[in-house]
């Protein structure tokens, strides 16, 4: 098994590791870097739980190899809040609108909706639902997630 060096910036901090070529980015984040806030739900790119930002774009970290992140910037849920005492506005909206129950899918949904709201600061409910359509949640029936995203947008306005 060939080993490759990966140098990547995650949430503003530089990490350098030697990894197997086949190591998934999700496993790299979780098991090499200990950033277990990114969750793995299906490992075939359907549930969206493992979504992280790669150079600002949401990607499924279970469909990318760690080596593909070499020289690039990653953002995960751990880096979302600006300080331990202050939630990111979207996190705050999720709390206020009860946008999560078991919390397992939440990181992936946050990392999908943060760039969505950057691009669509005043979305309609339909747009929010479309944007959420790549993330599975089995607990909430989605309504409070939709409410949370709309609440975050409203507060930005």
């Amino acid at each position: 098994m060939s080993r490759h060096s990966v140098s990547t910036e995650v949430n503003g901090r530089l990490y350098e590791r030697e990894v197997d070529a086949r190591l998934l980015l999700s496993d790299f984040l979780r098991h090499e870097l200990g950033l277990t806030g990114t969750h793995v739900g299906c490992e075939h790119g359907v549930c969206g739980a493992c979504t992280v930002l790669l150079d600002g774009e949401p990607v499924r970290s279970c469909l990318i190899f760690a080596v593909q992140a070499d020289g690039r910037k990653l953002a995960t849920v751990e880096g979302l809040a600006s300080s331990p005492d202050e939630l990111h506005p979207l996190q705050q909206a999720f709390r206020d609108a009860h946008g999560l129950q078991c919390g397992f899918c939440t990181a992936g949904i946050l990392m999908t909706m943060v760039p969505f709201l950057e691009e669509n600061p005043a979305p309609t409910e339909t747009q929010v639902r479309e944007a959420l359509s790549g993330n599975l949640c089995r607990c909430t029936g989605y309504q409070h997630i939709v409410d949370a995203v709309l609440l975050a947008a409203e507060r930005r306005a």
Binding site: E78, H98, S133, R138, T140, G141, Q143
Partner: protein
């Protein structure tokens, strides 16, 4: 405003939304090995030989074990059934398959390696010599003559043949009825799909002979008990089961499975920590599935549109072995619901549970009650059609009246409270039912046709708050279904509650704290809730069956009442008053009618611990434990209305609106109640519209990934329109009934009734779930309008 009944934001959330919540797979241990199972690729086969040599020598592999190793270790090594019915066939179910595999996914060997990748690579090198056998996957086909047999000791593949109600009286009611209607229908098999796959981290401590098992569990004490008595044989106090954050369960993490026990056995055997985490497909192959019935039901009515009899024959698939509570699901959690919300004088339920070459079927959100509600509510629409009445009017004529409680049904349950006409009326008003019917009539009269409008009602009842121990014991449960709570008041007045409930998304830390804050008059931040760890919490039964508020919450109240009673004695002593004159209010112990004669909570608590000046008969300290056994089930109810539109050209269904009026008694936290209802509705809409676990004839699961099994997504669904009625439960101290499953119980029937209503002009009596566009389109092609 009282803290009880307020939509207080969840205290669970800050950790969960920042990625700090720890789920089982987030834990590791030094020296940890990774377990990967070798699973049967056949639905049914004889195992002739297993060659592990190549795998054992593969890079990074520490061990390969088969059933022979487990047997040789002297471990009991079985997975038991914890609910026994009369004449139930319970073939032995070993952790690893021995000479026969009976479903795809049945584990035959386990590999331990330094990495999960190495274990996965080496698993492919295990050579298993299988002799494939004919399989049977359908519960009705399983009992047909000549069907392949799973177990010699279960002729006809029959695990049990069970009935409830009065057959003779029901037959007589049908003979004398003015009209009858019959339907045959399927309740489609579904997959649980908790987004977190099942996982376990087992760490054996040789020095102390103790196992710590971190796992995805809804009931860690139950898992520990079953590990002790059936799987591992270790004394119970030598096993610590921890359920950390659990990423959804829906029933699938109640059950005791082979995989977690295998991981535990491996850790003991190899004396290193062992982690096993299921892939999504492994979850789908081995998590207990839900539903999977074939039924034929009949309804008999008199000339006034009153029901005189209801009967049903059901074939229920049990899968390849009987999972933990599986026998109860299509029997006592199903047959007992056949009176629905209605006064029905004669009911008969007959269920045949069959072994099939599939994953086991056990409790899944609603567990038996969605299947029963589907049957009853489909029959209500069939009965309405036979009577020539509107479905709402037919329901109204047959409701148990609000003054008829307690109401003894013909199928064992005694309903404690309810107001069914009120919930129906509220739902019809919210939906604008009359307006919808008028629109539907207009559309149907329009020669240009267009989209087909369907309106479906589901007036559901459920029996939850599971359950009175003596009752379930008499019905075959091998466990009591009470719940425990220990309330520890610390010397400075803050409180830690140890609850036997085990949340996995339900928000107990918040709602249980609300109960304590309300009762003791102390701030929420003075209260902690501990759950999910057998080392910290006294024995508890866990979270399922919408039981945590009604049973777990009541256990907390019971302990709080003991705390307050002791506090009153201390206060009376300090105030030199009679204990009967002390009342406790807003965190103060007061002498009735003597303003200013009072002791604050903190002072009384401190005195309990100082013990310098206590009444003679009182022990120091302030800590109470209770085991609350409910007097009855609780009976949430309501009416849901689904409004759908079908495109006759494509068969595509759009949910236009979904209206739900639910009554779960008093609400501790309305925000959380709403969230539970939403999730339940979506789960049921999934079953109705998209979800189906399909096996081919050889026993292959052809919907084992998320690419071929459709879960509901945000853009499929609508904004649910919710209202409530409040009929408090009369037999628990909180007046609560439970709400975790209501949505999933009500919604499949509501959608099915709406779809069949839309197709009524085409002479369609019934279509089976899931209502895929193809199925609807084919149905329409087969019928003229």
């Amino acid at each position: 405003m009282s803290v009880l009944g307020s939509s207080i934001k969840r205290r669970e959330d800050p950790a969960l939304i920042t990625g700090k919540g720890k789920y089982t797979d987030d834990f590791s241990a030094p020296g940890m090995l990774h377990a990967v199972m070798v699973r049967s690729p056949f639905g049914h086969a004889r195992v002739k030989a297993i060659d592990i040599a190549a795998a054992a020598g593969a890079p990074g592999v520490a061990a390969v074990y088969t059933a022979a190793n487990i047997t040789a270790s002297g471990t009991p090594g079985v997975i038991p059934t914890a609910w026994l019915l009369p004449n139930l066939k319970t073939p032995a179910h070993t952790l690893l398959a021995t000479d026969r595999v009976r479903y795809v996914g049945h584990p035959v060997a386990v590999l331990l390696a330094e990495s999960r990748a190495a274990a996965t690579d080496a698993a492919a090198l295990v050579k298993v010599d299988y002799e494939p056998l004919p399989a049977v996957v359908d519960p009705k086909a399983a009992v047909a003559e000549g069907a392949p047999l799973l177990y010699d000791e279960a002729p006809g593949n029959i695990a049990f043949d069970w009935e409830l109600g009065d057959k003779a009286a029901t037959d007589a009611a049908f003979s004398g009825a003015a009209k009858t209607a019959t339907l045959t229908f399927r309740n489609n098999r579904t997959l649980p799909h908790a987004i977190e796959p099942r996982a376990a981290l087992a760490a054996w401590d040789s020095e102390n002979g103790k196992l710590t098992l971190t796992m995805t569990s809804q009931n860690p004490h139950v898992h520990r008990l079953l590990m002790t008595i059936a799987s591992l044989g270790l004394p119970e106090h030598k096993i610590r089961v921890i359920a950390p954050e659990v990423g959804g369960g829906f029933g699938s993490k109640i059950h005791h499975y082979a995989d977690e026990a295998i991981a535990a056995w491996c850790s003991i055997q190899i004396k290193r920590p062992v982690k096993w985490t299921a892939t999504r497909t492994e979850s789908n192959l081995t998590d207990a599935h839900g539903r999977d019935h074939w039924s034929t039901a009949g309804i008999a009515i008199d000339g006034d549109g009153k029901i005189v009899g209801l009967r049903i024959e059901t074939h229920a698939a049990m899968g390849a072995y009987l999972s933990t509570f599986a026998p109860a699901v299509p029997t006592y959690l199903y047959g007992t619901l056949f009176s629905g919300q209605y006064d029905i004088p004669a009911i008969h339920v007959h269920v045949i549970g069959t072994f099939t070459n599939t994953a086991p079927v056990d409790a899944l959100r609603g567990a038996g009650r969605p299947e029963a509600t589907f049957a009853v509510e489909r029959m209500m629409d069939a009965g309405a059609a036979a009577a020539g009445l509107d479905p709402a009017e037919f329901r109204r004529r047959n409701f148990i009246q609000p003054d008829a409680f307690p109401y003894q049904t013909q199928v064992a349950l005694a309903y404690d409270s309810g107001n069914y006409p009120q919930a129906l009326d509220k739902a019809l008003k919210l939906a604008d039912y009359d307006g919808l019917r008028a629109r539907q009539a207009e559309r149907r009269a329009d020669p240009k046709g267009g989209k087909l409008l369907g309106i479906g009602l589901s007036s559901y009842i459920e029996a939850c708050g599971i359950a009175p121990s003596a009752v379930v014991g008499s019905l075959g449960a091998q466990a009591g279904l009470w719940e425990s709570a220990k309330v520890r008041v610390h010397p400075s007045g803050s409180v830690t509650v140890y609850s036997g409930s085990c949340a996995h998304g339900q928000g107990h830390e918040t709602t249980f704290s609300q109960i304590v804050s309300d009762r003791l008059g102390i701030d929420m931040d003075q209260i902690d809730i501990v759950q999910g760890d057998t080392e910290e919490v006294q024995f508890g039964m866990g979270t399922y069956g919408s039981r945590s508020a009604a049973v777990g919450g009541s256990a907390i109240v019971k302990s709080l009442d003991k705390i307050i009673a002791k506090g009153k004695k201390i206060a009376a002593h300090l105030l030199e008053a009679s204990v009967d004159d002390i009342e406790f209010e807003n965190g103060e112990f007061k002498v009735k009618g003597s303003p200013g004669q009072a002791k604050a909570w903190g002072e009384v608590v401190l005195n309990a611990y100082l013990a310098h000046n206590l009444p003679e008969d009182l022990e120091p300290g302030l800590e109470e434990t209770s085991f609350y056994d409910p007097a009855n089930f609780t009976y949430p109810f309501g009416t849901h209305v689904a409004i759908v539109e079908i495109d006759p050209e494509t068969g595509e269904i759009e949910i236009l609106r979904y209206v739900a009026v639910d009554d779960c008694g008093n609400q501790i936290n309305p925000m959380i109640v709403e969230g539970q209802i939403h999730g339940g509705i979506a789960h049921g809409l999934g079953q109705a519209l998209w979800e189906e676990a399909r096996y081919d004839e050889s026993g292959q699961l052809t919907s084992g990934t998320l690419l071929d099994y459709a879960l509901p997504r945000a853009h499929h669904l609508v904004t649910y329109e919710l209202e409530h009625t409040v009929t408090p439960c009369p037999h628990n101290p909180l007046g609560v009934k439970g709400i975790g499953e209501a949505g999933a119980i009500a919604s499949p029937a509501a959608v099915a009734n709406a779809v069949c209503d839309a197709l009524k002009p085409f002479g369609v009596d019934h279509v089976d779930m899931p209502f895929t566009p193809e199925k609807i389109w084919r149905t329409l092609q087969g019928r003229g309008s």
